[in-house]
Homo-oligomer: 237 residues x 2
């Protein structure tokens, strides 16, 4: 397996990949020479200065795409065209059109395309899923989640605060919440109605959203996120 | 003031009306002779065996309509046609067409028509409203409320469990939650998307709902109700 993008996301992912016996971490790609040097020293994989070169190298069967959000689509399509399976960090893409292109490229080239979600593996979510699957409380009637924290007030990269390149809470935090709701609902979402907000004038990006979802089986779900730091919802748990 | 319907709702309202100095409780109406006798003995008002007779009697300027839900529209229209102001218990009506008829009758006859909501007067809601109006936390960004209790499992009248005549949580509890959200939002609701559920096979009426509202100023709100008794949300407070 290779890793495209050796920045913040990879720093969390690489140590995990390295310790899975079934996986061999063989290569990495980045445009920053220092990042490649560090990668080679630490993981002894081959280093490439572009995703194209990584995917054409023959050094990998699959690639973990952890480049900046705005490049997820382009790099996924490159990997698929090279016949590489793809795990892509959230958000999948910055536009719906890009997401469609990624799916089409994966299907056309017969490779698997997986979203690299992480929050559903937390013990609490796993336990809820276990109860859901057991059926001992019956079927799921409603799924509702609130997340309120200081995401927008903490130090952030510029790219995290620019909606056009996949910044703001909708792109950065929304995928986590959506994945949890979807995982617990156990199906595909049929419809979404939502409202996003930019209530902090210091940031030209979304700091809140409110969404109403309906699953294919009719189960309703709501997702609420507020990142202005007025209240940390963890205080309730 | 007169009170139409001397049943369960009135039992909570009458003592309150009787102790307001600006109000004189002069008459009541019910179809049950025993209820009328009790009313006369306790409040010394005149007793009428129909809302029509009450409204035509000249004994009142306004009427509090606390008859069964399915009669709210009919009785409101009668009162309006007799030139009486109306306070009507929740739910306003059982169909949207009925609600429209009530509003038209009030406007045509130049009387005031008020919904007799009660929950917004609780100290907690009053305090939240006070904070909202003060503006010291800025404008309202999102309004979200969950209510989970055992409403459907507690002993209930048959009329409370028949949706056609205004039973189920949508008619019985929804108005409370909607009124609170509206009171805190401070405006009119522009759009609603919602899903109701009948997840307890023992009852042929709604036991849950999930709603997404948007106020005229764009503020989103969600309302979630679950009355199956799996969890009492008061445990969180």
């Amino acid at each position: 397996m290779g890793v495209a993008g050796l920045g913040a996301a990879s720093r969390q992912i690489l140590p995990q990949i390295a310790r899975i016996p079934e996986l061999e971490l063989t290569a990495g790609a980045d445009i920053r020479p220092a990042a490649l040097e560090e990668f080679q020293a630490k993981y002894r994989g081959k280093a490439y200065d572009s995703v194209q070169a990584l995917c054409e190298s023959g050094a990998i069967d699959a690639v973990w795409i952890a480049t900046p959000n705005v490049f997820h689509a382009e790099h996924t399509v490159i990997a698929a065209q090279c016949g590489k399976h793809v795990i892509v960090e959230k958000p999948m893409a910055v536009t719906l059109a890009e997401a469609d292109q990624m799916i089409a490229a994966a299907e056309r080239n017969g490779v698997k395309l997986v979203q690299g979600h992480s929050k559903i593996y937390s013990p609490a979510i796993q336990k809820i899923r276990e109860v859901v699957l057991s059926g001992r409380l019956g079927r799921v009637i409603q799924i509702d989640t609130w997340n309120s924290n200081d995401w927008l007030q903490r130090p952030r990269l510029e790219s995290e605060l620019d909606t056009r390149i996949g910044g703001g809470v909708c792109f950065r935090q929304g995928p986590h919440q959506a994945d949890i709701v979807r995982y617990l609902g156990g199906g595909q979402v049929k419809s979404v109605r939502a409202k996003t907000g930019r209530a902090d004038k210091n940031f030209a990006t979304e700091g809140d959203y409110t969404a109403f979802l309906e699953f294919e089986d009719g189960t309703p779900a709501t997702m609420v996120f507020n990142a202005y730091g007025y209240f940390n919802i963890a205080e309730l748990t």
